[in-house]
């Protein structure tokens, strides 16, 4: 069963790798940010699977903390684009 959990974790890690393409290709900042947020959910799942695979229950706390705090970066992103500098959206090289 542990091998099964590890296989699933590996699959999710490969998913993150595939998603990295969107982070690098862009082209808009929003695309990159949403991809990173999806990594947040995938990362929580990967951590939970690893905690089962390695029989170490306290890794679940890392998943818990991760799930709570990933939203911070989005808040900062929205704040900087909507209340901060308007030209950010036009700037494609952002």
């Amino acid at each position: 069963m542990n091998t099964f959990y590890l296989c699933m974790a590996l699959f999710l890690a490969l998913n993150i790798l595939a998603g990295l393409w969107r982070v690098m290709a862009g082209p808009k900042p929003e695309d990159r940010m949403v991809a990173a947020q999806l990594f947040g959910s995938t990362g929580v799942a990967t951590l939970l699977l690893l905690s089962q695979a390695l029989d170490s229950p306290y890794i679940k706390n890392a998943a818990l903390v991760f799930a709570l705090l990933t939203v911070m970066a989005v808040l900062a992103f929205v704040r900087n684009t909507s209340y901060g500098l308007k030209q950010d959206k036009k700037n494609e090289s952002f």
């Binding site: 993150i16 990295l20 900042p29 990362g43 706390n61 903390v65 991760f66 709570l68 705090l69």
Partner: protein
């Protein structure tokens, strides 16, 4: 299977860090850095260090992203120059030498080497704590923890000095209170406070402790500030400073007072209250220091207002 997973994580860590250095846009580098934090947390998980995995997940996922985004928002006013980053040859040679030396010393470690864990395990009854990592941090090497609190405090003072600000209160909120922010606060704030307390309490007998709890509570404070909730602004300047110094000064007071009844500094009586006092003070101090770092760091909107 384990080997494949480890290899993928290792390759990703190196690949992402290279991509961060060579990324053309700053924003892309920031998003990659957040992802890098996730892979680092996975790596620490595989290395069987849940303590560091929790800390890395908390810092990497949450606060670093906010700090970097704010910095980017502040420096965007100046025109961004697109330039190809060249790695100097000297630096490359030095890094390669460093990699060879580190790799060679890693190969020299015997496979049955247990480090200091046996020594720590034997000394555990002296500390009165149940969990070895907390015992090392707060008892055996409390001097280090004390100085680390000092480093955080110095960082805050440094940022305030560079920004020419003498108070942390009274600064404008980064955003007006809007429905989405209030909604997020309503859902997430209770969880953050509960989980912060839970991690703090967990530190006595399992992975967790002051730093992890402090970072989660700092996340709660930063969320309040980001969503435009003014409740942190009601703290007066003096109480803010008091909370900033709380962890460091608690250590200082306990270290000085321990000289009266013991020969060496930071020797503590076998009571839980001593450790708990330090741990609670350190948590509050770490949380307040991290919130101050983010509040005082460059922010495009605040700069325009002031």
């Amino acid at each position: 299977m384990n080997l494949i997973f480890d290899l993928i994580i290792a390759v990703c860590l190196v690949g992402i860090s290279m991509r961060i250095i060579f990324a053309r846009g700053h924003f892309q580098a920031i998003v990659l850095f957040i992802t890098y934090g996730l892979f680092l947390a996975l790596a620490w998980t595989r290395l069987n260090s849940p303590d560091i995995a929790i800390a890395e997940a908390a810092v990497g996922a949450g606060l670093t992203g906010v700090l970097l985004m704010d910095t980017l928002g502040a420096i965007k006013t100046s025109e961004e120059k697109k330039m190809r980053i060249k790695v100097p040859l000297k630096l490359a040679v030095m890094s390669i030498v460093l990699v060879i030396v580190l790799g060679y010393s890693a190969l020299q470690i015997p496979s049955d080497f247990s480090g200091l864990s046996l020594t720590v395990h034997n000394a555990m009854p002296l500390s009165g704590l149940e969990y070895s990592v907390t015992a090392v941090l707060l008892d055996f090497r409390s001097y280090d923890t004390w100085l680390e609190l000092g480093v955080l405090l110095t960082a805050v003072i440094g940022v305030l000095t560079v920004r020419r600000r003498n108070s942390l209160t009274g600064s404008a909120l980064p955003a007006p209170a809007e429905p989405v922010g209030r909604w997020i606060i309503k859902i997430l704030l209770p969880f953050m406070v509960i989980i912060g307390g839970y991690l703090l309490w967990l530190g006595a007998f399992a992975p967790g402790g002051a730093f992890q709890a402090g970072v989660v509570l700092a996340g709660a404070g930063v969320m309040l500030w980001q969503a435009g909730h003014p409740c942190l602004a009601v703290l007066s300047n003096s109480s803010w400073r008091l909370l900033l110094c709380l962890g460091f000064s608690t250590f200082l007071i306990l270290a000085a007072s321990s000289l009266y009844y013991a020969d060496q500094m930071l020797t503590h009586p076998q009571i839980k209250a001593w450790i708990l006092g330090i741990e609670y003070a350190a948590t509050i101090s770490i949380a307040i220091c991290l919130i101050s770092l983010i509040q005082a760091s460059p922010n495009s909107k605040l700069d325009k207002v002031s």
